[in-house]
């Protein structure tokens, strides 16, 4: 098990969110979409220009900009 920021995750990699280190509107938007500690996520893919990133979360797919993903810490399986 190792910790990293969501931005560093590779395609098809799985992880569990540990912390969302952001308050205010962005933090709120992230949490509204179900990205809270304990949630399992899988990186589904990236846009052609590598940003934003598409995540599989609780059965649906979300897209997040890299600079927004920077606030999300995950624990990934090796």
């Amino acid at each position: 098990m190792s910790r990293m920021m969501l931005r560093q995750m590779k395609k098809h990699q799985k992880g569990v969110i540990i912390a969302v280190k952001k308050g205010g509107e962005l933090g709120r938007r992230i949490r509204d979409m179900g990205l809270v500690p304990g949630t399992e996520i899988t990186v589904q893919g990236r846009a052609p220009l590598y940003d934003p990133v598409a995540l599989r979360v609780m059965g649906s797919v979300l897209s997040l900009r890299n600079n927004e993903a920077d606030f999300i810490e995950v624990e990934v399986q090796p």
Binding site: G23, G27, R28, V36
Partner: protein, 733 residues
């Protein structure tokens, strides 16, 4: 007497809310706006036996914060209008995330009934939900439905009426947010209750939660109501805030959100939901995405789809547009025959029919555009477009969804800014949306094309295609750069978070597509139609009045008599022989006089005088009075530019680009040169949008200020550009 009920329909975007609303109310809908904001308010009626159920479709939201207009509108509606029941529609395949909004209804305490939608799609994904257990643990009725087929909707409405008839008091559900938060919450609630702080409007516990969440709207109201108490509460929140940050590096609002999800997880784990397949199994939708958002294929397919939308909108609407045009043409002809020559006839034909015809002429275009966009939106593809293009558009302070508006406006030469501006509705972020709708008119719309073609043909003829392409690229550059400029000045502010859902691909329902298309089209006809009629009459009057003084008119009448005497009309020719040359000569001389008169009348009119007066400024860019009038007319509609220029150069109004005479005259006129032509071209490309567009901007932006801004700003911007080109260019030519 029939019983009436008032209920609200609420749910996440992509949960099938609109489909359910359409299924319930069909054509008995009314679309308006919430006061003061651009958010649409849809209302409809459902009849259950003798009961009348008024349904308000709240905007689709994930949450009830104060961050977006939609969310504020939704919660203000719930609080101030007090619907008897919220029908909370939930995507069954997405239960956990969708219930997040539900917990916030629980916090308010409004009676809720859950419509568990798309249970068929969920079952296909191997998701089985025991609705009775869900209902038991949540403490609210749950009705499984399939909105697109209508399955379960009758039962849903019966249950809704049953719930509404109970006339339950609002009872906020106490959800635990963890020890730290709970204790301070209790403390806040006590103080709020003791002083009756905001409690005439909101539940006390809810106010306390909003204080913890640092909710701007509630804080503002609280400070206004009781500044001292508000300060006291804020102080308490600050203390717990600091504590949480020091011990756990988190925020109260984050704790609240985490525990809402915790509450949901707790319920779902009690045997409510079972997954038959592995959670990571790729669904059909994901497989489609492997192709459609692929690094190489994705952009390729997107290019084709956008081009397809463009072709669909502009090519297939050509036929109905031409029908409308010929209809209005026939009408003009008929009136031309019935009425005697004079001011009234001119008003009806040039003022009213041309004006209203101009607006209605856009209708097929708008219908096709909205139909096409509705397909892209309902199928889920639009979200992928935004996803793929976001990186590029973000550089300019926009987001991926802006591309649609630009392309429709003429990003592929020949669009129209009216549907383009209206298409910005698909953008969810307010600032990005404003920047897009203000810059979309910079694209080369179909009405500007003939003007471009004529000038390019007259002055840069050998490179026509190349110049056209150049102007298209230039328009994109200008629009994006100006968007960036606006985003760092008048529309300053951080980019709106772009946490976007990529919903599963779905087949749109025809009913939904038609309702959507008709709704938007009707709004356009209603609002644009009335204003444009007034404006086109004003423009007509400006170009007609004051009429030539009697002396001048007599001069032209005399000239006509002279021609008539020199070249007798065939009927007057007693010899019975008609000389074709005489007849032709006579006609052409008379035409020349008509045109000369039209030219002096235009020069003499209010518009002509303004054009002449403007010369004192416009000479900087090389424009004379003739160009000025044409540009002035172009504010009504860009199509007017060429015909007005024709009149100002004493030409007939028709077929200017075809017979090439205007192009020839301009090309040989010593007043004109390529530098001046370029300056005029740039000005025409970027100055004030036509009135229909301005009206649309005003409506979409929600204020006349933005409509006026786009006219003034664009004109100043274009003028500066034209002056620069003219002045610098003149140094070299």
């Amino acid at each position: 007497m029939t019983a009436e009920f008032k209920i609200a329909l609420a749910g996440n975007p992509n949960s099938g809310k609109t489909t359910l609303f359409n299924a319930l109310t069909g054509s008995r809908q009314h679309v308006g706006n919430y006061p003061g904001v651009t958010v649409e308010k849809k209302e409809g009626v459902y009849r259950l036996e003798d009961k009348k159920i008024n349904i308000v479709d709240l905007p689709g939201t994930y949450s009830l914060t104060a961050y977006s207009e939609e969310e504020v509108v939704a919660r203000d509606f719930l609080i101030f209008e007090k619907p008897q029941v919220i029908v909370n529609i939930i995507d069954a395949a997405n239960l956990e995330r969708n219930l997040y909004l539900t917990t916030q209804f629980f916090e308010l305490g409004i009676p809720v009934i859950i419509a568990l939608n798309m249970i068929d799609a969920a079952r296909e994904r191997g998701i089985e939900i025991k609705e009775d257990r869900l209902a038991e643990f949540l403490g609210v009725p749950v009705v499984p439905i399939i909105a697109r087929t209508g399955f379960g909707t009758l039962k849903l409405m019966e249950e809704t009426v049953r719930l509404a008839a109970k006339k339950k008091e609002w009872k906020p559900k106490p959800i635990s947010y963890g020890e730290d938060i709970d204790s301070v919450l209790l403390d806040l609630e006590e103080r709020i209750g003791a002083e009756n702080f905001l409690t005439s409007t909101y539940p006390g516990r809810w106010v306390a939660i909003k204080y913890l969440e640092n909710d701007q709207q509630i804080l503002d109201r609280g400070r206004k109501e009781n500044a001292d108490l508000s300060a006291e509460l804020e102080k308490k929140v600050e203390i717990v805030s600091r504590h949480l940050h020091e011990t756990m590096e988190t925020y109260p609002e984050a704790m609240v959100a985490d525990h809402r999800y915790g509450y949901i997880k707790g319920i779902l784990q009690k045997g409510v939901i079972t997954h038959k397949y592995d959670k990571d199994r790729l669904y059909t939708s994901d497989r489609i995405d492997q192709v459609l958002t692929n690094r190489f294929l994705g952009p390729l397919v997107m290019g084709l789809v956008l081009f397809g939308l463009y072709t669909f909108t502009f090519t297939y609407s050509e036929l109905p547009v031409s029908w409308l045009e010929s209809l209005f043409g026939q009408l003009s002809l008929a009136i031309d025959k019935i009425l005697p020559d004079g001011q009234v006839k001119s008003l009806i034909i040039a003022g009213i029919i041309d004006g209203v015809g101009g607006v209605l002429g856009f209708v097929p275009l708008i219908m096709f555009m909205f139909f096409g966009i509705a397909i892209l939106e309902d199928s889920g593809y639009l979200a992928r477009v935004a996803f793929m293009l976001d990186r590029i558009f973000r550089v300019f302070g926009l987001n991926g969804s802006s591309v649609m508006a630009y392309i429709l406006s003429g990003g592929i030469a020949g669009g129209c800014a009216v549907p383009g501006v209206m298409a910005t509705r698909t953008l969810r972020s307010p600032k990005e949306r404003m920047a897009t709708l203000l810059t979309a008119p910079f694209m080369n719309c179909g009405a500007k094309l003939p003007v471009l073609a004529l000038f390019i043909g007259a002055f840069f003829s050998e490179h026509k295609a190349r110049y056209m392409f150049f102007f298209t690229i230039l328009s994109w550059t200008v629009a994006l750069v100006v968007a960036k400029l606006l985003r760092v000045t008048v529309l300053q502010g951080e980019s709106t978070p772009f946490v976007l859902e990529l919903p599963p691909y779905r087949f749109p329902t025809l009913k939904g597509l038609f309702i959507h298309t008709w709704e938007k089209t009707w709004q356009y006809i209603k609002k644009a139609g009335t204003v444009i009629l007034g404006i086109s009459i004003i423009i007509w009057a400006m170009m007609t009045y004051p009429g030539l003084p009697a002396g001048e008119r007599e001069k032209y009448a005399m000239q006509r008599q002279e021609v008539a005497a020199a070249f007798p009309a065939p009927a007057a020719d007693r010899s019975g022989m008609t000389d074709p040359e005489t007849t032709a000569e006579r006609a052409s001389r008379l035409l020349a006089i008509d045109r000369a008169e039209a030219r002096s009348a235009l020069c003499y009119s209010a518009a002509g005088r303004i054009g002449t007066a403007l010369e004192s400024v416009s000479f900087l860019a090389g424009f004379d009075w003739r160009t000025n009038i044409a540009l002035l007319g172009g504010v009504a509609a860009k199509e007017v530019i060429l015909s007005t220029l024709g009149t100002a150069y004493s030409l007939g109004g028709d077929n200017l680009e075809e017979d090439g005479s205007l192009a020839e005259i301009l090309a040989t006129d010593p007043d004109w040169n390529p530098v001046k032509a370029l300056s005029v071209l740039l000005f025409i490309s970027y100055y004030a949008p036509c009135f229909v567009t301005v009206i649309c901007i005003t409506r979409e932006a929600g204020s006349w200020k933005w409509g006026a801004f786009s006219m003034v700003f664009n004109t100043v911007f274009a003028f500066v550009l034209a002056v620069l080109v003219y002045q610098i260019g003149s140094l070299f030519c």
